[in-house]
Subunit: 541 residues, 2 copies
């Protein structure tokens, strides 16, 4: 027997409709790629999204067609997600920081019909367009006045193109499981893999993360996602902010400390989110300039682990609460959020900072499993390390146009992270499955060793990889980039680490390099390091 | 093209699973009907719900079967909702305050197979059981020690009955649109009508109301729903609290001011919710006893309009934020919540209290329409009155086993409320459609006149109904219950009102009575008043 409730599919257009009706005056403030600050209301954004939907329809874009974007966070990119999904087409965000070959692969694999791109990326795409035969038209996200001379196929400025339609359009209706968004993971190995979000998954995740223990956006918040919309579904801000009626501040292409700080202060931002690199820049700028954070209440840090000193600086020097967050492109993306549960009682400064280093607990709709390599459940005791597997309505069940089986027999997706979970459900990532060092049947966390090593005053960056060892199978090798002008000694570094870890975790050797290779998203490229040290032999091995 | 997200239907068992895993130590504290305080964790509640599911299954209860409850807010009633829905059966809450005939009608119309009832209601049900042939077994929500001698059919104490099963049970799987709950509206006219909630509607509503601008429950909250679970789906607390990991305090049968206050203080409640009658009792108790509210942060007032003086007392004397909420059984039930949007800027005390008298704005998933009698849209200007219509995934599309058409051509349900909506989307109820007085083609709000009249120092209660008038069609008649020992004069009352309303709103006449009739849920029974004054003729008419 079914309930007798109304049929009201979870379609994305309902978010911008709600924002326009209930929070119609709330602003979307952007630093435009052209330079000036641009302001629009949610009511106006809805109008422009309707216009875009109508224009796309006239262009012949149909249910399920992919429309790519190569763009910074601005109002045009924001409204485009609603215009595209409003006719059942799929927004496909492309990360411009990827290598050329990856961008070409992704656009061809997705079979995008249109590409909306910022002025910034016109030279890049001109160079690549001969390898992108499927794209029928390139739309430059600017107006006629700023439209460059370009060789791009059927190019047109967005504003002129949009101007060919009006707002008199009704959102299309379809099943809530219809595809809505596409984002490729930029794995360090193999081809990028596409994650295909649905209308339902985006809305369920956005509803869940607006619980006060997670993003918790309110209509009194001014939210600035510094994290780009092209990074892991934009951490859901494009949906969760208008759903709550929170104002949006979109930083465009300028993500340096001074530019971010200017927006935070000028527009009275209350909550912001981004990767540690951005916050390094902001904190450095504040230190130099003596600036304050006078309205900011919360900073959400994700993408990679937030250093303890960064959390301490925000909380203690600037009075801003830090929430570590963790997610994956495959999880739409939020998987967990480090807000403090009452179970911990009163915590002193050090214990609180320790807890804040964890990746946190999942919102409703994300289930955790902790298993060993054989798929057996492990205890949630805060010390047993295992594989983290996840299940939920906004988590991938397969990749776009691939037939890899990615769920286990219980329907859980293996995150590839090696973690502990404590008795209160707080998860802490200790490594990636492929980076963990297996020494004598035990696991050594490369990340913990790296974090420890960078605490040494002469070390700028550190990476740890496993290298073959005849007796222990693998042993850790510590690779160090010294700080400029410093020359740390092998013995000093090891002595520094020795007291802080189990004896058998101590790196077997230390090597000094000028630079460590990084992926397009700023992570240490361990595959490249392993390649570099393929011929390396440990002393005595 | 569909998205590639996991299939994870929105089933109610996922809420208690999430609470048990992520907030397993959080407490459900109840004042038992037997007397003592009882405490259980969410992890334990889940275990008992699984046991109940298994026991119901053994009893032969199947998908879609109805299991009635006649019970106060305690852990047993709470866990029963999860046990019942965990096998796809339907919890059917019956309001014990209804008249006997209504209770009999409802239980027979729903074809309940079991009735779980509190000790309190054993005498009532013994009296009614001969008229309830469909109920196979009566389960008394107590243990063996407290089980009374009873004539109830196949009666058994809940704890003994539950003890016949263990926790080794897997929740049943089914479509998320499966019926989960049934609650009859106790309208003032006609037979009660059943609203049939689904698993999906309960979960979507609970996710939406946990946005910070609405209930906004957090795992750091201790929530006490004084509103009974049998009142309009328990205002969703049974789902929204465990979903957020908030502790629950359940007040059992004792809803007087002193008992409520004792629980608020002893268990450090942070948020509570109930009807104005309960808060009258609490405020009177506080005034007499000199008590404080030392942990309470928020009180949610719904069911009927909160008097301005009540809101002022909570906010100014006790430092507790008041949120007016509005909903209907047909809306699962939350329709709107009065939290202050930033659009209003800084407000002085009076303006803030004025705003807090409004019923507020809807969460995501509730759409408003304001129309005239002809179904044409009216402006949202804060002064135009019209019918409020609503649409959303947790709103009824029809009643159980009735074929009334209750949605308009756009799929909206007519709430029967006459309201204004201001430009910021804030809704204010001015009357019920059937109580509004239509005078010379214009509408006069009976509620506004009543609220105004009770501001007179000699008036205890006031009701306004429309009576026939040869020229104006209808004119307002003011019916007054004077305060004990007071004898207000007709002319004084009218003079008191005259300056505060439009001239043509002034009641045509005033009558004094000893008491005004009320419905089982405490509302003024205007049908009875209209019947009482059917023969009444206005002076000069």
């Amino acid at each position: 027997m079914l309930g007798l409730m109304q049929d009201w599919p979870l379609l994305i257009h309902r978010v911008i409709d709600h924002a326009a009706v209930q929070h119609g005056n709330r602003l979307v403030i952007s630093r435009s790629v052209e330079g000036p600050i641009h302001t629009i209301t949610y009511a106006e954004a809805r109008g422009r999204a309707l216009r875009l939907a109508k224009r796309l329809d006239r262009e012949g874009i149909r249910l399920g067609d992919r429309v790519a974007t190569l763009a910074w966070n601005t109002w045009r990119h924001f409204e485009a997600w609603y215009g595209i999904t409003g006719i059942g087409a799929v927004y496909h965000t492309v990360n411009p920081r990827l290598f050329d070959d990856q961008i070409v692969y992704i656009l061809n694999h997705a079979e995008d019909r249109l590409l909306l791109l910022d002025l910034t990326f016109v030279p890049l795409v001109e160079k690549l367009q001969s390898r992108l035969p499927g794209i029928e038209r390139f739309i430059v996200l600017t107006d006629a006045a700023h439209m460059p001379d370009t060789t791009l196929r059927n190019a047109m400025s967005y504003e002129e193109w949009l101007g060919e339609a009006d707002e008199d359009f009704a959102w299309r209706q379809f099943d809530e499981n219809t595809a809505a968004g596409l984002c490729y993971t930029s794995g360090t190995t193999g081809e990028p893999k596409g994650v295909l979000y649905s209308h339902r998954s985006n809305l369920l995740l956005s509803l869940a993360v607006n619980n006060p223990d997670f993003l918790g956006l309110s209509c009194r918040d001014v939210a600035m996602p510094v994290v780009p919309l092209f990074h892991a579904n934009g951490w859901s801000f494009a949906f969760s902010a208008p759903l709550a009626g929170a104002s949006l501040v979109l930083p465009g292409a300028k993500l340096d400390g001074a530019s971010v700080h200017e927006l935070l202060e000028t527009y009275r931002v209350t909550i912001t989110a981004g990767v540690p690199t951005v916050w390094f820049g902001l904190l450095q700028h504040l230190e130099k300039s003596g600036g304050r954070l006078s309205t900011l209440q919360r900073v959400v840090i994700g993408g990679s682990a937030a250093p303890r000193a960064m959390t301490a600086a925000f909380e203690e020097r600037y009075g801003v609460t830090v929430n570590h967050a963790w997610g994956m492109t495959e999880m739409s993306p939020l998987g967990s959020f480090c807000s403090i549960k009452p179970d911990y009682g009163a915590l002193d400064r050090e214990a609180l900072l320790d807890l804040k280093m964890k990746q946190g607990h999942p919102p409703f709709g994300v289930e955790f499993r902790l298993t060993n390599d054989a798929g057996q459940d492990l205890p949630w005791d805060g010390s047993t390390v295992g594989r983290l597997k996840v299940r939920g309505p906004a988590i991938a069940k397969s990749y776009f146009r691939r037939d890899d089986e990615i769920l286990d027999e219980h329907g859980f997706f293996d995150t590839g992270d090696v973690v502990t979970i404590d008795p209160h459900g707080m998860m802490h990532i200790t490594d990636r499955t492929k980076d963990i060092i297996k020494s004598g049947g035990e696991w050594i966390s490369s990340i913990e060793l790296e974090n420890l090593a960078v605490g040494h005053p002469d070390i700028a960056e550190a990476a740890v990889i496993g290298v073959q060892h005849p007796k222990w199978d693998e042993r850790p090798l510590l690779i160090i980039v010294p700080k400029e002008g410093r020359t740390p000694k092998r013995e000093d570094v090891l002595a520094f680490m020795e007291d802080r870890i189990a004896r058998w975790w101590l790196p077997e050797d230390v090597v000094f390099v000028n630079a460590i290779p990084h992926t397009a998203t700023g992570k240490i490229q361990k595959t490249a390091l392993r390649e570099m040290f393929r011929e390396y032999r440990l002393p005595g091995a």
